[in-house]
């Protein structure tokens, strides 16, 4: 099979059994690969309502047909499991060299089941797979872990993905780290931690066959030439998005109390890259090279070093917590990487605690004497350490995520707990970019900026079209979410959306599929695959007891009640009536029942899916 290694590697940590199974061709044709196939694996393998930390939960690390080939933007892989934050299926994408290496080792999917009695890591050395003792590295940070494992295996070519203290201590938004890259969202690292799995390391010597190497090289050249002309990503990565989004008045600031950050210029890449960048990094085979490593060379935070920090991190550990000291921000980002914490959820959780503190809901007694005011850079760095180890009342509280923390504290703090479906809100405004209220709410991940990429379409539009109009948003979300599902299954990087098509499944997706696999599908067939994956995700949610009510109740109350108070997007918010209109319209487009949110029977039949058993939550 062109484009695929042809095998699935299964590792049961409970029994120690390791097996290699040939890929099922029907599965590939029905779901392509990556997240699509992983969704089917979870649907077929997981019992309904299984807890994220149960040994019965499974974690899939998946590649698609693009990995290990010359497709630009293919240096990505995806982790899929049930999230402890959202209680739903969750996919978290990671860059670097991990996914291509898995293909070179001869596998398309790594499926991890069971729970080990003791800390272990998995070593995949081409055809040879072993479960190895990790008791000596348990407790180590992610960077230490990667170094130790490479030394122990005696080959620096091993690509290592690991968890840090955050994952070991079951911080619900802990991140998996590989090199400088993170599978940050959804707390997947803590699922690995619950299985006593510290890491996996991969090295392979095989190659991925494609139908026509010449055509593949031409495609690479065509996209690489476009990348070279890109106005921002090769030079600045995503770091300069902050300045533009702030100028538009859409930057979440001080826990979304406002959307204009007066200190944006101090942390925007436009200011920092010329001063702090020490090198560029790229994922496997990527001609864009958007990774910018920045290092603090003097002062209190001397030696702090991080990739980016990317736009989302600048938002979460910068404007959200009111910190415009770039040195302190890089230090905070580095701590998150070393401890293995998602920077977005970490920053949003701390921002909620800061607002609680300033409103007197939390006092110094609860914060262990930390002066948790917005803008306190030292408090930011200190509290991150406490979260990773669940140290003290605040560390333990914030490690649960902002939804659970606000339910425990109460006192009206749920009103400004900025999450959708348990996942802390990413840095794209649901008020300033109105379609995002819908995209986040109906997305299976909630507060992720990837399930309905409205901003790809709406940022260039006028204020009226972007922030006031709502009638066209359901169709935009409908199209972008299906495009993203194809990208997550092929797998291609979201930053190539501008080249491969920003709106809906398209001819470029088909071209990539054909170049890698030789499959000659029509656009209609591609759409059907995307719709099948989306419907199956919805069936998983329905089977676990989620329904329309969970979509309607998803937006933070601040989003539905408080207009943006100042700046260029002043006055924008999503009225509850507009929100309900958008949900109803999107349900119609999706073919979901209006009352329950379940895909309609005729839709399931058309897509070759069976009825999910509905459970009451």
């Amino acid at each position: 099979m062109y484009g695929y290694a042809g095998y699935m590697l299964k590792v049961n940590l409970g029994t120690g059994k390791i097996s290699k199974e040939p890929l099922n061709e029907d599965l590939i044709k029905g779901y392509i690969g990556g997240f699509g196939v992983s969704t089917r694996i979870l649907y077929d393998s997981l019992a309904p309502m299984v807890d994220a930390y149960s040994p019965e939960n499974i974690v899939v690390f998946a590649t698609g047909p693009a990995q290990g080939t010359l497709i630009p933007g293919s240096g990505r892989g995806v982790f899929v499991t049930k999230s402890p934050l959202t209680k739903r299926i969750f996919n978290s994408n990671i860059g670097g060299y991990l996914s291509s290496e898995l293909k070179y080792a001869g596998y398309d999917f790594l499926v991890i089941t069971g729970k080990s009695q003791n800390p272990v890591y998995i070593a995949i050395d081409d055809g040879n797979v072993e479960i190895k003792d990790a008791s000596k590295i348990w407790g180590k940070t992610t960077y230490e872990t990667q170094t130790i494992i490479k030394e122990e295996l005696g080959d620096k070519k091993f690509q290592v993905a690991c968890i840090g203290p955050g994952g070991e201590n079951l911080v619900k938004y802990s991140a998996i780290i590989h090199n400088f890259h993170a599978a940050g969202r959804g707390g997947i690292a803590s699922v690995l931690g619950s299985k006593n799995l510290k890491a996996f390391a991969i090295r392979g010597d095989k190659s991925v066959e494609v139908p026509n190497t010449g055509e593949m090289i031409n495609f690479y050249k065509e996209i690489a030439e476009k990348c070279a002309k890109h106005p921002s990503l090769p030079a600045y990565g995503t770091t300069v998005a902050l300045g533009t989004i702030n100028k538009m008045g859409c930057l979440g600031t001080r826990n979304w109390q406002t959307e204009v950050f007066e200190g944006a210029a101090n942390i925007d890449g436009y200011t920092t890259i010329p001063k702090y960048k020490i090198r560029d990094i790229a994922c496997a085979g990527c001609p864009m090279g958007c990774g910018k490593v920045q290092e603090i060379k003097e002062g209190k935070y001397e030696g702090a070093l991080a990739k980016g920090p990317e736009y989302e991190t600048l938002y979460a550990l910068g404007s959200m917590v009111g910190v415009d000291d770039f040195d302190a921000l890089v230090s905070a980002a580095r701590l998150c990487d070393e401890y293995g914490l998602d920077t977005i959820s970490t920053g949003v959780s701390i921002a909620w605690a800061m607002e609680c503190f300033e409103k007197g809901i939390l006092t110094k007694e609860e914060t262990d004497s930390i002066d948790l005011k917005f803008g306190n850079r030292d408090a930011l760095n200190e509290i991150i350490k406490r979260i990773a180890y669940k140290k003290g009342f605040m560390g333990d509280l914030l490690a649960k995520g902002v939804k659970e923390a606000s339910e425990i504290i109460g006192c009206g703090s749920q009103y400004f707990a900025m999450h959708f479906k348990g996942l802390e809100l990413a840095g794209h405004s649901p008020r300033g970019v109105k379609g995002w209220t819908l995209g986040y709410s109906v997305g299976w991940r909630g507060g992720s900026h990837h399930d309905g990429r409205v901003h790809d379409i709406d940022y260039p539009k006028t204020f009226e079209e972007r922030a006031l109009k709502f009638e066209d948003k359901p169709e935009i979300v409908y199209k972008t979410v299906h495009r993203v599902l194809i990208e997550e299954s092929l797998i291609t990087c979201r930053l190539f959306g501008g080249y491969y098509g920003p709106l809906e499944p398209n001819e470029n997706n088909l071209k990539i599929l054909k170049l890698t696999t030789g499959f000659n599908l029509t656009l209609e067939e591609l759409w059907k695959i995307a719709r099948r994956i989306r419907a199956l995700i919805r069936c998983l949610e329905v089977r676990d007891g989620f329904n329309r009510k969970d979509d309607i109740n998803a937006p933070p109350l601040r989003i539905l009640n408080e207009p943006i108070p100042e700046g260029p997007s002043k006055g924008a918010y999503t009225k509850p009536s507009e929100f309900k209109f958008m949900v109803n319209k999107l349900y119609e487009l999706m073919g979901w029942e209006k009352d329950t949110g379940k895909p309609k029977s005729q839709v399931l039949k058309e897509l070759g899916l069976s009825e999910p058993k509905i459970r009451k939550n």
Binding site: P231, L233, G243, T244, K247, M248, Y311, T462
Partner: protein, 96 residues
Amino acid sequence: MTFVTLEYTLKFRNITNKDAEKVTLENKATIEQLLKYLKDKYGEEFEKEFTNPSGDKVSGTPLILLNGRALNFSGDLNIYIKNGDTITFTYAIVGG
């Protein structure tokens, strides 16, 4: 006379070789007239960013922000510029 601030980022900064400048325009100048003024001042490369954007059309769509609000190229070019306005030449950038 109308006094305005012009801000330039990314490729626009490379073309103009500056981050910002203050310029004086005739009363009732429009965005279209401003673009012509900038084309005359900085050459065709400036205009090309709008007629033939570099890179791709989405991740780097050129953007004119009038006091932080994006303008629609087909409908907003005849908008009058007011005294004290800030006009930013930048790009809509996606990030993650």
